[in-house]
């Protein structure tokens, strides 16, 4: 496998912030100025992006969109507690090695690439035909401090070490995106090596734009109602406030049910797409939902 980096492939990186916004928009991702700037800087300076924020605000989506927009491979490492080198970097294929040894293979052959099972981090530092891949390290807060410390080396030098083979260094640094739901505070040492961005819930206008870009089949009146309702809901004291993913899910549900406008009954039937805790559902369904609906109707008429 030879690295074939044509000049044209490397050149397809956006050259300005506006070009970055356009690139993301072409894949249906509506980014605000801050996120576009961050993405532009990350691509130009080869620094990882660290996205933190509530669940369902489009953190993971950014990685997918960048990979698609630039035509790069996407390598995803889903973090969990107890994640270690054998499930994140590499593992030796013990059974094949054993068989080879029984068949009298040369000792030096036992640790060749043939028996190496490559995991996400090793895949990310290998040459790729389409250019450096996008490495998504998802929900880093789910893993523990020792793994974070391990990542420090991998992310600052873009290299991993397999003791039997030596150091494997990326010919071109991958585009790295880390996400965290902040269920745990990630160590500053890791964040300092990244471009940090706190992803907040989108405002009304941007959420409308996103809904239009993602689900053009939803009529304008219904979108307006859905977005206003969700925006109001986020002001309530809830255990888990609905994210952008919930807005999109809900709109999809309503379209599937051929709903043209919200009504208290429709809300009660479909609230499960928006609120995911029993306490929250009990708090909102019935009176409060009707009240919020009346309020947004009044506001929309006032406009």
């Amino acid at each position: 496998m030879l690295p074939i980096y044509g000049a044209d492939i490397v050149q397809n990186l956006p050259q300005s912030i506006d070009a970055t916004t356009a690139l993301l928009a072409s894949e249906g991702y509506v980014a605000d100025r801050a996120l576009s700037t961050l993405t532009f800087l990350s691509l130009t300076l080869n620094r990882p992006i660290f996205l933190e924020g509530e669940a369902g605000v489009g953190k993971t989506e950014l990685a997918k969109v960048i990979a698609q927009g630039l035509g790069r491979d996407l390598i995803r490492l889903q973090c969990y507690e107890g994640l270690d080198a054998s499930s994140s970097v590499y593992e030796w294929n013990f059974a094949s090695q054993m068989l080879a040894m029984r068949n009298g293979a040369e000792q030096s052959d036992l640790y060749s690439e043939k028996y190496l099972i490559k995991r996400a981090l090793l895949q990310a530092v290998e040459p790729h035909a389409s250019g450096a891949p996008v490495l998504l390290i998802d929900e880093i807060d789910r893993t523990d401090a020792p793994f974070e410390a391990f990542l420090l080396e991998a992310l600052s030098d873009f290299q991993v070490t397999v003791p039997e083979l030596g150091v494997i260094k990326a010919p071109e640094p991958p585009i790295v995106i880390l996400t965290s739901n902040r269920t745990r505070e990630v160590h500053d040492a890791l964040k300092r090596r990244c471009l940090y961005h706190w992803v907040d819930y989108p405002g009304f206008e941007r959420e409308m734009e996103i809904l239009r870009a993602r689900l053009p089949e939803v009529n304008d009146h219904l979108s307006r109602e859905v977005v206003s309702f969700i925006q109001r809901l986020r002001e309530e004291e809830l255990f888990k406030r609905p994210g952008l993913a919930e807005t999109l899910d809900w709109a999809k549900c309503l379209v599937a049910l051929d709903v043209v406008a919200l009504s208290p009954d429709v809300i009660t039937d479909t609230i499960g797409a928006v609120l995911k805790y029993q306490d929250d559902i009990a708090k909102i369904t019935g009176g409060p939902a009707t009240r919020i609906l009346e309020q947004i109707r009044q506001d929309m008429q006032a406009l």
Binding site: I17, R33, A34, T37, L38, F40, L41, T44, L45, R47, F50, E52, E81, G82, D84, W92, F94, Q97, M98, M101, R102, G104, Q107, L110, D141, R142, D144, P146, R182, T183, R184, E185, D188, K191, R192, L195, Y196, H197, W198, E237, F239, D279
Partner: protein, 406 residues
């Protein structure tokens, strides 16, 4: 770099200095990177400049507001900020940054005023001699004496004893492995290495087992008026647990509640127990006031539980449980807390009375949901906590009280 951008690098350095004074930690490497990125983005739009600096410098959401305020002030008129920064500190600083200094300053001032005498908190030397004089029965008495009935000297000794208290804690099987002589799992990698040495024959199977891991500790301590006499001692206990982080516990998070919930974990990392307690005293404003157990637990469940209980944790609830209103809500919150904790242990000083019966409505509501109930009015009872954590219940207050309720 300086030639290309004129005075900009200087200004960015000054800006970072202002930020540091406002309590945002910024490393030199970050400043260099920030200079590079500003050049890259160009200095045409104020908004882009703002976003670029912020992405390079801020690493925590709570610093975003400070950054924005300092940015707004500094790039309007740097000199103005230089002059104002000292006055502005209380407004824009995150409180924990400056506060730990205060007790030290006070103590230094006191030390000077006392004519070079020893600071108030330095451990008095004669204490050690007294310890040596203590007979076995004296120690026994101290262990069993109610904190409330102790005199100043005894309290001092009890505080020291708490400082040395080590709990015998259960360990969990982790998801990483270590090699072991006797275990069930085969260490394939080492087995292969050994087989290579013996010419491809597997003579022994190398074994490995799950590496034990420590639990997290979360403490919720009631500091309302009815707990006055115990809350100081409990703070010493919590501090001693927090100092054993890494050896006894994986991580320790602590909160106080009276009328409000306060996170005191940052203050607990101060080594000296008296300085730590002084810092907590400055951070927490509702000492010895009323109590709102249900509301405080509600805030904890909503804002903190997902952050501190995401890994297996023991929750210690230190409270007398004297809540009179909102019992349905209290029951809801305590059951939610119990569901998220690996174990919810209630430390209640009221158990010092043998005849104690759970008549208070708050206690009735909370009792069924906790995994065990332990007394905490003397040193002996704190030792009992070890037993409960290991599942040995010589004295089962919960079962006894539940029987009384029926």
């Amino acid at each position: 770099m300086a030639d290309a951008a004129g005075r900009l690098p200087d200004n960015i350095v000054y800006f970072v200095r202002a930020l540091r004074r406002a309590g945002v930690p910024v490393g030199t490497a970050q400043v260099l990177e920030a200079l590079r990125s500003v050049q890259l983005v160009g200095f045409t739009k104020r908004q882009d400049f703002h976003i670029t600096l912020r992405a390079m410098i801020v690493t925590r959401p709570e610093h975003l507001l400070i950054f924005d305020q300092v940015f707004a002030m500094f790039w309007r008129d740097p000199d103005f900020l230089e002059n104002m920064i000292t006055n502005l500190l209380p407004v824009i600083t995150a409180p924990p940054v400056e506060k730990p200094m205060k007790p030290a300053q006070n103590r230094a001032a006191e030390a000077m005023a006392a004519g070079g005498g020893k600071p108030r908190d330095a451990p008095p030397k004669e204490q050690l001699e007294m310890d040596a004089q203590f007979s076995h029965s004296d120690v026994e008495k101290l262990m069993q004496k109610d904190f409330e009935a102790m005199n100043a000297a005894e309290i001092r000794q009890a505080e020291q004893a708490i400082g040395n208290l080590r709990l015998d804690l259960p360990r969990l099987a982790g998801r990483r492995y270590q090699s072991a002589a006797q275990a069930l799992r085969i260490d394939r990698r080492r087995t292969l290495q050994q087989a290579r040495r013996s010419g491809g024959e597997i003579l022994t199977l190398a074994k490995r087992r799950a590496k034990p891991r420590r639990l997290n500790l979360v403490v919720l301590c009631d500091i309302s008026g009815s707990m006055t006499r115990y809350s100081r001692m409990m703070m010493h206990f919590v501090h001693s647990c927090a100092q054993a982080r890494g050896s006894d516990w994986a991580e320790v998070h602590a909160f106080t509640f009276g009328t409000q919930l306060h996170n005191i974990s940052p203050q607990l990392s101060i080594k000296d127990p008296d300085a730590a307690l002084a810092a907590i005293g400055q951070h927490v404003h509702d000492w010895e006031g009323g109590t709102r157990i249900s509301a405080s637990l509600g805030v904890f469940n909503r804002d903190w539980a997902r952050r501190v209980l995401s890994t297996p944790a023991v929750v210690l609830l230190i409270s007398d449980g004297l809540e009179r209103s909102g019992l349905a809500a209290l029951e809801g919150e305590i059951s939610r807390l119990a569901l998220q904790a690996r174990e919810l242990i209630w430390l209640n000083p009221l158990l010092r009375w043998d005849q104690f019966s759970p008549q208070a409505a708050g206690i009735k509501a909370m009792l069924p949901h906790v995994s065990s109930l332990v007394a905490c009015h003397n040193l002996d009872s704190l030792q009992d906590l070890s037993e409960h954590l290991n599942g040995r219940r010589s004295v089962d207050h919960k079962a006894r009280l539940l029987r009384l309720l029926q």
